[in-house]
Every structure is written in structure tokens, then in C-alpha cells.
Symmetry: C2
Subunit: 257 residues, 2 copies
């Protein structure tokens, strides 16, 4: 299995603190040593760092921890391979262009008997995760050849997730840079931080941050992860079937299937 | 204008030496301070580093110089903006998936009166370069919905380049990870290094490398750049209209239009 990390914020925010915790689970406090990746939206651009190396040993991960990249929407992932060998092409998150936007996707789980039809978007690697992402985009594209608002799109996303969930475990994060969509099939937790901000203590490393000193009173930052990343805060655990749509740190819509 | 850097090799080779020279031109010895990017194929995967910062000051560029990534096919670019603001979404190289492969593209030049039809692949940013890349992939996809061998593909690539060249300046590098295609509209130079290897001295930095110590006798490494990167070697300058197809360091096919 793998671990997911997502962020949605109303102001460009660095994710160094949460990323530092997650990276420890990539071969340090956790077994996810088969690669890691993280994508940061900057405007319509997407800055993607990936490495098939264990994150605790990765030079690229050290750069990301040292060099605070500020973004409003982030998708990260550490991998413990089950389907597909350890290789860059099998490393999440995956990216495709649709409607002139970068769509970014990461998956935690495993799908069985999953052989979607080969249509426009096709996997480069051989993971079930990338196959699901391509299938999801093919569904969106077939339903809507031209861009539609996210509220029109949502039923297609939710129905697709319901389908994949029927094939196994399907926790996922998906973004087009404007919004962040999450689906919980078995495990996903979330925290929304806003004023008054306080200190937070990582579970996986001896690191504490005082968000009060790093934020303004208007900041709203939601972090989503497979397991809570901090020891001293209350995270909200999603239930199986929960989907949520985030924009600028706030929940725009949610439901359960 | 911009500068291009490409590599095709028959063994995974690091490009630190050439990259170090190119990066100096990004705000150091050259005026190309509006971003840079480089893509390294690793199997079917593509490792992409990009930064809208000037490369001489870029933390990410320092990582790439410090951390020798070995690849058989590389496409790099430093940008001096003419069309499109300085932003990550406008930073080369550009990537799209076609036929389950990552296609990577970088352009040097400028196109006028260029408004290709909006079809499947659409630009995320607002450069003429990304618009040309999307148009080229749309042409390929329309001609061949399913994969074809590169010799069948070549006439479509060459015809598209001929079209873009009619709209302005169009020097480009294109790869699908298997081969590297180059087109010279005004300026492109190339060197193929093979045994006996000797020392090379960068033009843009006080750096010398002894390739003899870093290679085996069977290595073949071709480097393509807008301007020769070394002072003590003989580079072959391409003529306007020259196209070349490289695989594993060797020229597979070439021609002039």
C-alpha cells in the first residue's frame, strides 16, 4: 500500500512540515520505500518531483524539504509497490493534460480484475493506479469533450470512483490546479487549519512548527493524508465512500456513496 | 530567443558537464534568464526539472548539477521570453502522453500568425512553442490513432516542422524516449563523441572534463545544442532545413527540406 498527502490552501503555502513527516514513512518509520513523488501547482503550471528511490534516502526529497515551494494545491505520494515494478514510470503522482489544464492524480490501494478499455489516455507504466487515472480521464473526456464547471463534472468523478472501489481499494487525490477532489475507499484523514493557529508536532519526526508564526489570520490550509501526520491535533477521518471537493482550503462539496 | 540542449547516448550517461555550460548562459554568460528546464528519460519514465527562475540562481539547477542523473535521452532548454510571461506553465520542455509514451519537446525561435486549431492536445500556458507542440501531436494523432514505427511517422514530423518554419524560426528537439528528433530552422550544432575519448573544455565556465576517464570504449554520446558548448572540439553545424533522427547516440536518418 501507499500513503497520500494533499493540500488545498487559500494562499501559497509551503508543505515542508507535512512533507517531512510523510518522507519519514518512506523507508524510515514506514515501509513505503518504492518511490515517492509530489506535484505543486504554480498557477497553471505543475512542478513535479519524483524518485523511484526510498524517500528517506532521496537527494530530490532533501531538496524539496530544504527549499520551501509555495503552492495552493499539492498532491504527494509515497509508494510501497504491489502492482508494477519499482521504476520512475510507475511513480505517482501521474499527470495528463485535459482541456488545457494539468490534471494530477495519486492513488492508495489496489484494484483487481481491472482492465479498462484502451482509449485516448493510455498508461505509460504498468500500475493499476495509472490505468485508473487514464480511465477516469477517458470517462471525463467522453462525457465532456469541452470544459465544464466542476459541479457538472462531479457526478462523473464520483461515479468513476464508485466503479473503481468495486474493484478493490481506491483512495485517491485528483486536481486540475483549481480544485482538489478526494475519495476515501478505506482510509483518509484531514485537518483544516485556520486562525487561531497553534503549534503542531509531527508523529514521525522530532519536528514541531508554530503555525501562528508562519501564517496570517486569514489563512486557511487543509491537509489530507492517509494517516494523521501530527500527534497533538484532531484530524477528521473520512468514512468509506466519502468524497470531498476542496478549493482554496475550504470544502466546496462533499458526499458519500 | 532560447537555447536548446539535447543528448542521445547508447548507455545511460550523465549530462552534468554540458548542463553546467548551458546553465551559465541562463543569466550568467547569456541573457536567457526567464526559466529553464530539463527532462531525463529513465526507461519509459521522464524526470522533469523546471524553474521559471534564472538558471544561474536556481536551487533546482544546482541539484541537477550536483546529482548526476544518468539517461540515454535528454532534452533541455533555457528561456529568454518573447511570447508568454515568465511562468512555470510557459517553461520548456513540454510533455504530453501519446500512445502510452511520454513525448517531450523544446523549441528555440518564434512563430508569427500562428493559431493552430484547438483539437485534442491543448496548451496549458500561452507560448507559441507549446501551441506548436500540441499542434504537432494533434497532427500525429490524426494521421495515426494507433502507434506506428518511427520511419512511418517521420514524414509527418518533417512536414509539420516545414509548416512551422514557414511561420518564423523553429529549431526544436522532440523525443518519445526511444528516439530523439531534431529540426534546424536557423541554428543547431552537434557533436558525437566516441572512442578515443579526450578532454573537453567548456566555453562558458572554467570546467574541463576528461571523457576518457568517464567512459568505456563502446560508448557513443551525441550532444546537440543551439551553440557549441566546448571550445576545443569540432562541432557540426546543421544547415537551415536539416532534420535528424537519433537513437542510442547514432544518426538513424536525416534530410533537408
Amino acid at each position: 500500500m501507499c500513503e497520500l498527502l494533499g493540500m488545498s490552501a487559500n494562499v501559497p503555502t509551503d508543505i515542508v512540515f507535512s512533507f517531512t513527516g510523510l518522507m519519514q514513512r518512506g523507508g524510515g518509520t514506514g515501509p513505503h520505500r518504492d518511490g515517492w513523488g509530489i506535484g505543486f501547482y504554480e498557477g497553471r503550471g505543475l512542478r513535479l518531483f519524483q524518485d523511484p528511490e526510498a524517500s528517506v534516502n532521496s537527494e530530490v526529497a532533501k531538496l524539496v524539504q530544504r527549499y520551501p515551494i509555495k503552492s495552493e494545491t499539492v498532491i504527494g505520494h509515497i509508494r510501497q509497490a504491489n502492482v508494477g515494478q519499482v521504476a520512475l514510470a510507475n511513480t505517482h503522482p501521474f499527470v495528463r493534460e485535459l482541456w488545457g489544464r494539468n490534471w494530477c492524480f495519486a492513488h492508495n490501494g489496489q484494484l483487481a480484475d481491472f482492465t479498462p478499455p484502451s482509449r485516448f489516455y493510455r498508461p505509460v507504466g504498468d500500475t493499476d493506479s495509472e490505468a485508473a487515472f487514464c480511465d477516469l480521464l477517458n470517462r471525463v473526456r467522453s462525457a465532456f469533450p469541452e470544459p465544464v464547471p466542476v459541479d457538472v463534472l462531479l457526478p462523473v468523478l464520483v461515479a468513476a470512483c464508485g466503479h473503481y472501489r468495486g474493484k478493490g481499494v481506491f483512495n485517491c487525490l485528483l486536481s486540475n490546479g483549481d480544485w482538489l477532489f478526494t475519495f476515501c475507499s478505506t482510509k483518509l484523514a484531514q485537518i483544516t487549519r485556520r486562525a487561531p493557529f497553534g503549534p503542531a508536532q509531527l508523529k514521525d519526526a522530532e519536528v514541531t512548527v508554530d503555525f501562528h508564526a508562519e501564517t496570517t489570520p486569514d489563512d486557511v490550509v487543509t491537509v489530507i493524508a492517509t494517516e494523521p501526520l501530527t500527534a497533538n491535533e484532531t484530524w477528521h477521518r473520512h468514512e468509506p465512500g466519502d468524497w470531498t471537493l476542496w478549493r482554496r482550503g475550504e470544502c466546496l462539496a462533499s458526499g458519500r456513496i
